[in-house]
């Protein structure tokens, strides 16, 4: 196969790749153009003027840093799920116990369940117990882990050779210590993958916070979807350049974490083989 691929034959391939890449990048490029343009100019291919100060306004015209702080808090709490999902995934992959298969079927079926079916009654319950406008829902969610991540961890742990456990057992390791001292250290790709996915999911989530929190506790994503950038005294004029700058600032951490973890994410997904 390899010898067949001539330079000439691969030109259409690269043309296609570059074309598609351009399509995928283009909206992001345009957002940059808009963010650098003068206020309320019509969008175009090149910036109208050069106004990097729009990024500064994005952080000063709304309570930007407070919203960012809330985003960070929610993300840190949600990362509890890295640990709890890992424990679950390990148990499902490596410990034979009665009821395991039935419970795993429950895990799989909750993956299929639309989240909204439980979200609204959860909201009602949280409301009933006075947990609205607190971060407790995220604590509970973090402790509970997620079916999808349990599934990912399980796939990863299941691929590790059995001898490893047996050697540990002979040395007198308890099951928990085998997990903590032997399996976890070799699971960096999957731990990194799950960490990044949880971070990105929580960072971008705007519906959950909208439901459970009030405005002061909104994270950035919810704030950007609810609050417009305006100049004081002129409610009609929405500053699109500035709100675009705000949106770009929201995306930056997501892109940074993706680049940091790219290798692991690809490895994590390819080796665990999410194949259904």
């Amino acid at each position: 196969m390899k010898t067949e691929t001539t330079v000439k034959g691969s030109i259409p391939l690269y043309v296609a790749l570059i074309l598609f890449s351009a399509i995928f990048v283009f909206p992001m490029y345009l957002a940059f153009v808009q963010a650098l343009s003068a206020w309320n100019t019509t969008p175009g291919f090149v910036p109208v003027g050069f106004h990097p100060e729009n990024f500064k306004y994005a952080t000063t015209l709304i309570d930007f840093w407070n919203f960012t702080k809330n985003s960070v808090i929610l993300c840190v709490i949600s990362l509890l799920s890295v640990v709890s999902s890992g424990l679950g995934g390990y148990a499902f992959a490596r410990i034979a116990a009665p009821g395991r298969n039935a419970l795993f079927m429950i895990v799989l079926s909750t993956m299929m369940l639309p989240t909204i079916i439980t979200q609204i009654p959860q909201y009602i319950l949280f409301h009933k117990y006075g947990l609205i406008d607190t971060f407790w829902p995220w604590v509970f969610g973090g402790i509970g882990g997620s079916a999808f991540f349990i599934f990912l961890y399980r796939q990863f742990f299941a691929a590790i050779p059995k001898e490893l456990e047996e050697a540990a057992r002979i040395d007198g390791c308890s099951i928990f210590r085998t997990y903590w001292n032997i399996f976890l250290p070799m699971s960096i790709p999957i731990v990194a993958t799950v960490t990044i996915m949880i971070f990105q999911g929580t960072w971008g989530d705007y519906l959950g916070p909208f439901m459970y929190l009030k405005q002061d506790h909104y994270p950035l994503a919810t704030a950007l979807s609810m609050i417009s950038y305006k100049i004081e005294g002129n409610d009609k004029l929405i500053l699109t350049s500035v709100s675009t700058a705000g949106a770009i600032l929201l995306v930056v951490p997501v892109i940074i974490t993706f680049f940091l973890g790219q290798r692991y994410i690809v490895e994590g997904i390819v080796t665990t083989g999410v194949k259904g």
Partner: protein
């Protein structure tokens, strides 16, 4: 303690965080929500709920907004799922060739799918803008009259284009599937004189059907719950009504609950959505016998 007991204890203590939270924050709310859908709960009368039987469900099917939005949601799903899968699979097949700098392309295809929805809507508004927007610029280049992308006629098309932009997230899953196809199958086929399109049709697609199946199911579940992008794309706040063609079922349910405090009715709406998802996935499951190819000797 006996070895077996020890293992059972370890197993149950390790899954207990998930399991306990699942019982309290998953199963219980689900049943509670189902119960509420048969009552007259509107947010303030939790102490004296009245059982109203099928009233809320009857209302779902006589509510013209609900039926209209359900139709629109099916429409979006029927286009979005196959198209998104075709894009993800097609791009994965491109990347599966001997490509220099594969990491860069992979990153570029994947990036849009991790951009938070709020931000991607803000970005796409410039593409769709009717006043000097880029899509209209392209149409103009080909001598086609500009269209009002966010107006009545094109709002759903615009939503679909934006969703398609995020379809690259599926590239990785498809790529993982493609990597799992043994290369010698292609080599054997080449020796037998199979052309490239034949190899794609006869080897790649059949062997990818389990991955496609997984993606169809997940795609249906995700697509039927689309709604908030539709609201944001219309340039409104979460509780405002989006432009009519994009008034999707999820939007209707969400707004019935949070804008009008119709909790019981909203829960009935959501359980109907759940049933729709169940029926659709069941149909896919049943038909999968005819199109999903499992290698019998690869069990396990």
């Amino acid at each position: 303690m006996k070895e077996k007991t020890k293992r059972t204890v370890a197993f149950y203590s390790m899954i207990s965080p998930w399991f306990i939270m699942f019982l309290i924050f998953g199963l219980y709310p689900m049943i509670y929500g189902l119960y509420l859908s048969f009552t007259n709960y509107y947010g303030f009368n939790i102490k004296k709920l009245k059982w109203t039987g099928m009233h809320n469900y009857h209302r779902v099917f006589t509510d013209s907004d609900a039926m209209y939005s359900l139709g629109r949601t099916f429409y979006v799903t029927i286009i979005n799922v196959p198209l998104g899968m075709a894009v993800a699979l097609g791009l994965a097949m491109l990347l599966n060739r001997q490509v220099r700098g594969v990491g860069i392309y992979r990153t570029l295809f994947y990036l849009p799918s991790i951009v938070p929805a709020v931000a991607s809507v803000i970005m796409w508004k410039f593409m769709f803008s009717s006043n000097g927007g880029v899509l209209n610029g392209i149409l103009d280049f080909f001598g086609i009259n500009p269209v009002n992308w966010l107006g009545y006629d094109y709002a759903t098309t615009s939503l679909l284009i934006m969703l398609l932009w995020g379809a690259g997230g599926g590239v990785l899953i498809n790529l993982a599937g493609l990597k799992g196809i043994p290369r010698d199958l292609y080599e054997a086929a080449s020796i037998d004189g199979a052309t490239a399109p034949q190899r794609t049709l006869r080897i790649t697609l059949p062997l990818m059907t389990p991955v496609i199946f997984f993606n169809v199911i997940m795609g249906i579940i995700g697509s039927l719950q689309i709604g908030l992008q539709a609201i944001l794309l219309s340039g409104s706040r979460l509780l405002d009504r989006p432009i009519q063609p994009n008034y999707l079922y999820f939007v209707h349910a969400f707004q019935q609950i949070f804008a009008f405090q119709r909790f019981a009715y909203g829960m009935a709406l959501l359980w109907v959505l759940f049933l729709a998802i169940l029926i659709l996935t069941a149909i896919v499951f049943v038909t999968s016998r005819f199109w999903v190819h499992y290698e019998t000797d690869q069990e396990g």
